[in-house]
Every structure is written in structure tokens, then in C-alpha cells.
């Protein structure tokens, strides 16, 4: 008799544990909606990073559109996305599925072929189908702006950067950041440490501590937690937030940062699906690429605060000579030289990148990698494909760079 109770209890424990962990299908029921969207997240929505930001956007669209109902699944293993899509479509009866991790790409494509009457959108990938679009918001322009500020603030000439994985997305961030740093401080270096995880606060902490021990005095990062900001602040050093607004973690030390607005995409896409502009036959070429111009990303310590007022003075004091035109490697300028403060330079570049014509982009040639190869021709801009496959490290990056060509 006792044996049965033990088994019942064990099963109960296992089921409650399992049930609580990955399968929290949170149905935020807006009754009577006539479009239903399902979101599949790779991490927990409590990570205060990637999945958290997608979920915050989901809440905004659900709030905005009375005709929309949403459900989500979090912490979904990348290889099992197909099963979760089946479940969302068959049991939850969703019309639109969003999958929000690069690793979901092939599973989403297979599902799009399996359910030709449903609409799919995959974040950060490159495979599309008549009923499957892609979307991405990218921070490289924001990192460049942060780099300008970091270059003005470093005293040791060493800026620290904690990277998650050495993949093109992160390398693009580091390169754009370094281009900014060197534009105002041509001898400064960006020292990089990799943690090989998207989310591991202890790893991020020790990587940042290692950079501090090596003399870095300003920090930026690409990983999914506010750890680097906190470590920098504990040591009295300035830093740049990533992904979510991190100002509150260190109001005296967060200079600026990168903030995402996924809702820009979700609002636009779902409105067009609802209006019938997007259907199951015309998504083959629908690829959202959100930069500053699109409002998909924002530079700031928190929304609406581009630069922490505590650092405005330092940025206004630092003067820099820049070339308006084409800046050749031998320091000649086809155009005019002007002298402005870093503060003004940030404002100028922000306006130029926000401009409808996007009159400035940090990846404008001539750009040399740190081995001395010309990677972007003078006057040319990195193409979309070049941005997505970027493996080289720009001059000024110091540290390991797995996969360097």
C-alpha cells in the first residue's frame, strides 16, 4: 500500500516540477478576439533580456489591438520547436506563430510547410516561405553611438566588452562600438572577453572582473543580464546597458545603452495581417530589419534618456575633429573638417542615422580589419549580407576572436 503512495507523491513532484518549468502556457485571454497569435520564446520571460523584451512587446500589442488574443510558451528547447508549434496550432488554435530564436529557424520553416494555411514569422533568421516572414532589430548603430561616448570617457584607453558568443551579430556590435570609440579616441583599445553563454550571470561577472583587473575602465556588453552594469558600478566605473533599460541598476554609472522596441514590428505585422495585406501567399520577401530609422531600437540609459545627465558635462568638454565627407586612411578628408564636442557628435550621428535617407552609417569605408585588410571599400557601405556574415575584427579590438578570417 505504502508503495503506491510513494509513487503517487513522486509523480506529483515530478509533474508539478516539470509543469511549472517549461510549459507555462500563459493565456492572457482577451475574449472574443478574431486573430490569435502564439509566441515561442527560447528563454524564460524573467531573464530581463531577450525573451523578456519580446514578451513586453507582446503585452503592448495585446493591449493595443482589441481584436487580438495572444498566448506564449517560454523556455522552449530549440530542437523541439515543431512540437510546440503543433500544440499552439492544434490546441490553442492560433492563426499566427512567432518564433524568437535563431535556432528555431528550420523547425519553423518545416511547420510553415506543414500548415500552409497559417502565418509564421521567425526572428533573426534568413529562411522565408510564402507564409513565413523574418524580422530582426539590430543594435549596431546604437553601439556605435555608445562607442563615441565610451571613447570620450575612458581614461586608461582600455574599454572592456563582455561578449556572449563569437557570432556575426555580436562581432558586428563590437566592431561598430569600436569604430565609435576610435573615432573620438584614435589610440583607445576595446578589450573583449567571451563567456560562451547568452545567460549566465556568474560568468558575466567574472569576465567583467577579469577586464577590470586588466585595466579597463568603461564597459559595454552583449549578453542577457544586467551583470556587467552592476560589476562596473561596484567598482565606480561607467557602463552601457544592453537590451532592457538598465539605468535603475546604477543611476550614477549607466551612461547610455541599447533599448529594443520589438512592438514596432509586432504592431505593424499584425495590423497588416489583420487588414489582409499579409496573407499565406505573399510573405516570401517580407524581411523586417529594424534600425534607428525604423524606431525598432533606441539609444539610451532608459527610454527617453539618451545620455545620463551626469555624463553630459564630460561629453561636452571633450572636443573632436571630424570629417564631414569621406575620411581617407591617410587622414585626408574629401569634404570639410569641423571641430565639435562628443556630445554634439552623438546628436549629429543620431539624427543622420534616424534620417529617412540614413545619411550616415558606421560601417562606411574605408574600413580595415585588425590584420590590415581593406574590408569595406572607401565610400562604400557594408551591405545587408556583409553585415549578417561579419566575421572580421576592426582595428582597435584586442583579445581573442574565434573564427577570424
Amino acid at each position: 500500500m505504502k508503495g503506491i503512495w510513494i509513487r503517487v507523491l513522486l509523480v506529483f513532484l515530478l509533474v508539478s516540477g516539470l509543469g511549472l518549468m517549461p510549459l507555462l502556457i500563459g493565456s492572457a485571454a482577451g475574449a472574443g478576439g478574431n486573430l490569435k497569435a502564439g509566441f515561442i520564446y527560447v528563454g524564460p520571460i524573467g531573464d530581463y533580456g531577450w525573451s523578456h523584451a519580446h514578451n513586453a512587446a507582446r503585452l503592448i500589442v495585446e493591449e493595443t489591438f482589441p481584436w487580438l488574443e495572444t498566448v506564449y510558451v517560454e523556455s522552449v528547447p530549440e530542437a523541439e520547436v515543431g512540437t510546440y508549434i503543433d500544440r499552439l496550432i492544434q490546441q490553442e488554435k492560433v492563426d499566427v506563430v512567432f518564433t524568437t530564436s535563431f535556432g528555431f529557424m528550420d523547425g519553423t520553416l518545416a511547420a510553415a510547410q506543414r500548415y500552409p494555411e497559417k502565418i509564421f514569422a521567425h526572428c533573426s533568421g534568413f529562411k522565408r516561405a510564402p507564409n513565413m516572414a523574418t524580422y530582426m532589430a539590430d543594435f549596431y548603430q546604437v553601439y556605435y553611438l555608445n562607442g563615441l561616448m565610451a571613447g570620450a570617457l575612458t581614461k586608461s584607453g582600455k574599454v572592456g566588452y563582455v561578449g556572449a558568443f563569437p557570432i556575426p551579430e555580436v562581432k558586428r556590435h563590437i566592431n561598430a562600438f569600436t569604430i565609435g570609440v576610435r573615432e573620438v579616441n584614435p589610440t583607445a583599445e576595446v578589450h573583449v572577453r567571451w563567456i560562451f553563454e547568452w545567460y549566465n550571470p556568474a560568468a558575466a561577472k567574472e569576465a567583467a572582473e577579469a577586464l577590470i583587473k586588466d585595466g579597463a575602465d568603461v564597459f559595454a556588453f552583449t549578453e542577457d543580464s544586467p551583470t556587467v552594469v552592476q560589476v562596473a558600478a561596484q567598482n565606480g566605473l561607467p557602463s552601457f546597458g544592453h537590451y532592457s533599460p538598465m539605468f535603475d541598476f546604477a543611476p550614477d554609472y549607466v551612461v547610455s545603452g541599447q533599448i529594443v522596441h520589438w512592438e514596432k514590428f509586432y504592431l505593424d505585422f499584425l495590423a497588416k495581417v489583420y487588414a489582409g495585406m499579409y496573407n499565406t501567399t505573399n510573405l516570401q520577401d517580407v524581411d523586417y530589419w529594424g534600425l534607428l530609422r525604423e524606431g525598432a531600437v533606441e539609444a539610451g540609459a532608459k527610454p527617453g534618456m539618451l545620455i545620463n545627465p551626469k555624463f553630459e558635462g564630460a561629453l561636452k568638454d571633450k572636443k573632436v575633429r571630424i570629417c564631414i565627407g569621406i575620411h581617407l586612411p591617410d587622414s585626408t578628408c574629401i569634404g570639410v573638417w569641423i571641430e565639435i564636442s562628443v556630445y554634439e557628435l552623438v546628436m549629429l550621428r543620431l539624427e543622420q542615422m534616424k534620417d529617412f535617407e540614413m545619411v550616415f552609417d558606421p560601417f562606411t569605408g574605408p574600413i580595415y580589419d585588425r590584420k590590415g585588410n581593406l574590408v569595406i571599400q572607401p565610400g562604400a557601405r557594408a551591405t545587408y549580407d556583409e553585415l549578417l556574415t561579419m566575421e572580421w575584427a576592426v582595428e582597435g579590438v584586442v583579445g581573442p576572436w574565434p573564427g577570424e578570417p
Binding site: 511549472l20 560562451f196 550571470p201 556568474a202 572582473e209
Partner: protein, 309 residues
Amino acid sequence: MGWETWLIGTISRALAYGTPLLLGTLGEIYAERSGVLNLGVEGMMVMGAFSAFATAYTTGNPWLGLLVAACVGGAFSLIHAFVSITLRANQIVSGLALTMLGLGLAGVLGRGWEGKPLEAALPALTVPHLAKIPGLGPSLFVNQNALVYLAAGLAVLLWFVLYKTKIGISIRAVGDDPATADAMGVNVFRTRYLCVLLGGVLAGLGGGYLSVAYRPAWTEGMTAGMGWIVIALTIFAFWNPLLGLVGAYFFGALYHLSYRLQPWTSPELLKTMPYVFAILVLALVARGTLKRRMNAPAALCEPYIRGEE
């Protein structure tokens, strides 16, 4: 940069990162010494981390947070104790269930707590006078947490209790041969319950250290596998608290160096270094003459049923 600065940096980071591992390992050593394997360390740690953060955030007192973390960790471990000691169920299954339950529960309870900075973090302190000792001072006594010293002291105390007192003899007897211990008048159930409870209290405290001192914030799953390193360190330490201290700090040093050395060596290789080293030591020890002295509790994982041999 001179080798002294390298050494000082490495030691001071080893202490900071090694402390939660040490706390967890000390607790797991006691639980396993009494014959109960508890794979729920990760779950107890993460519950400790959440409850410490929530308490410190609400009350503004990090010490109260740590106290609550210890209690929550202890309470959580009693689930495992009840299932595995009283009901004599499979310890591995029950421990795994505890880990999943802890991660899930802390995640659900923690909704809405993430992204909040903790004003009332446990301050890092610099010990007066001692910090001025050349070399030793900056490595051991500058910018560390009070809990670092508490954990180190606890390691010595728990070693003393385990090897030099009657209580320690009883615990080891229960873990090696519960039937004989029982015949000699040791209360097997009570001993095991208390050891598992101690394990939970210390794991909870280790989790609390993470969220109010080491990195004062709450994010879901923030223990990120530390509980599993604790299980490995327990074996690595041959179930000896003092070796646990060495193991935890050693792992901490390797962990720090795996980031510090990146400019010179392949970062992928460095990342595996702490783990490869642990496996190497285990393999060497398992082969060599040390095997006899490995000291694994003989009745580990075996439920005790009175009167059955």
C-alpha cells in the same frame, strides 16, 4: 603587470566566486555523509536566491534576506528528506524533482521581481589593519563579503565536528552502516533528517549570497548550474569539509582564470578548463592508491529500513 597583481586578483576572485560553491558543498557533504544523496541543490539554491532577494528588497535588510534564504532552503530540503528517508523512495528521482520544482517555483514567484536593483545589498568590506599586510591583505581582506569569511570559518567548524566529535562519528556511522549505528543507539532517521536539513540551509544561504551580495539582483534561473558543480565538488572533496574548501576556491580560481587568460589562449579551451581539471583529478584518484581513502559513504543512496538486512 607583475605576477603579484595576477596572484592577488586570482585569489580574491577565487574567494568571491568560490563562496556559494563552498556553502553548498559543505551542506551536501553532510547530507551525503549521513547516506542521503540530494540532487536538489540547484533547486534549493535558486529558492534561497529568490527568497533572499525578495526579503532584502522589501525589508531593506540583506541579513534578514540571508536568514530567510537559509530557512527556505531548509524547508525545501525537508521535502526531499520526507520522501527519501521516511517514504524510502529513490533519492535520485526525488532530488531531481526538487531541482525542477525549485527552478519552476522560483521562476513563477519571481515574476515581476526581475529588473529591480537591490538598494540594500550586502556591502563588500575591507578588513581594517589586516588589509595592510603586503600580498595577503589585498588578496584576502579587501572588497570581500562578510559571508566569505563566515563560509570559510564554517568549513573548519564542520570539519572539526565531523572528525573530532561524537556527533561526527554518529553521522559517519549512519552513512556507512545504518543498521550497526542503529544497534548502537544512534537515531538513524533523526540524524539523516538533520543532515539533509543542514544541507538545505547551507544551499539556501549560498543562493542568498548570489542574489544579495555577489550580484545583487534577481533573474530567473540565476544559479545557472552552480548546484551541479556542488555535487561534483562533494566527490572531488572526498566528502571532507576542508578539502571542500580547497576544491571550491580552486574551482573559483580556475573559473576566474578562464576569463583572465583569454588574450593568450583559445577561449573555448579555457572555458572547459575548470571542468576538465575536475574530471582529471577524479580519474587519477579513482585509479590510484588513494582509492581506499576516497571515503565514499558506504550506504549512500540506500534507504534504511529497520530490521532488514
